[in-house]
């Protein structure tokens, strides 16, 4: 009798379930029968470099940083999209070429705007 051609999937699923669940059960039994849990204030603390944490983690950034976000889009994200575009350039249909041109145009507009606003000047 030949096994069902997809029976290995059932075996895989079985192994994938047993493999992680077995150590968890073993660890739970070890905790239950031998090793008592000893939680504490410092053991449960979030930060773990020995120094007590100061202040809040949920701080707000100033909205002036939007300029950096725009310039990051123009110079970094654009490059990521331009590389595959350049690689596939000779085989592209007209529609894709127009689409990437529109994308570039939007970013170039942003560049011109940022340039006009003086964001590219080196602050002294």
């Amino acid at each position: 009798m030949t096994p069902h051609p997809y029976s290995f999937i059932v075996i895989f699923v079985g192994v994938a379930l047993v493999f992680p669940i077995m150590p968890l059960i073993l660890a739970w039994m070890w905790r239950r029968f031998f090793q008592p849990p000893k939680p504490g204030v410092q053991k449960n603390a979030t930060y773990e470099c020995g120094v007590e944490s100061l202040g809040e983690a949920q701080i707000q950034f100033r909205s002036q940083y939007y300029l950096y976000a725009i310039i990051f889009l123009i110079f970094d994200v654009e490059a990521v999209f331009l590389v595959p575009f350049a690689v596939a350039f000779t085989g592209l249909p007209v529609g894709a070429f127009v689409a990437i041109l529109i994308f570039l145009l939007l970013l170039v507009e942003g560049l011109i705007w940022a340039w006009g606003k003086g964001c590219l000047n080196w602050a002294r």
Partner: protein, 207 residues
Amino acid sequence: MSEIDEGLRSELQRQGIWVTSMQELYNWGRKNSIWPLQFGLACCAIEMIATAASRYDIARFGGEVFRPSPRQADLMIVAGTVTKKMAPQIVRLYNQMPDPKYVISMGACAISGGPFKQGYNVLKGIDRYIPVDVYIPGCPPRPEALLHAFMELQRKIDEQKLTGARKAEHLDPDQPSEFSVPAFGAHDLEPAANADVFRPMKIERNQ
């Protein structure tokens, strides 16, 4: 646990049957994979680094996985001079390590303050705040000495009991896992020593 007759065990072993107990298996697993916490305080740390590197190779004893987080470490090697500024951080890191945990006090400074014992800013031994398992003398101790301490610790782990009245500390629900962190006082750390941990040797002088 482990109440099998030694003669029967060796007889079985000769026939190709290996008999063990849960305690031996547990201790064998723990003692051969001790993960130290990765931190060094002074010149002893250089010797510790040499021990971990290829020439001395602590990996032969299963201790090469130096962990950058106390949550994943079993062993704290206090390698170097502990200043009073650093002592609370060390105790806090020790507290954050999961049980079972061990401490090697490496070098004269970690034991007693060493050559800097008279310094106003030097802690006179880390065993004032946390329980130490193995002390290594030396200034600094050579890598062989650290390996020797490591083997002593393995021997100590191997003898720990899983059940009974004298079972290991981490298995005893009454034994503490955290120790109080000293605070910076006006002139010194407060308290100057944790009385639950620090048991100085009594010096008996003949009159």
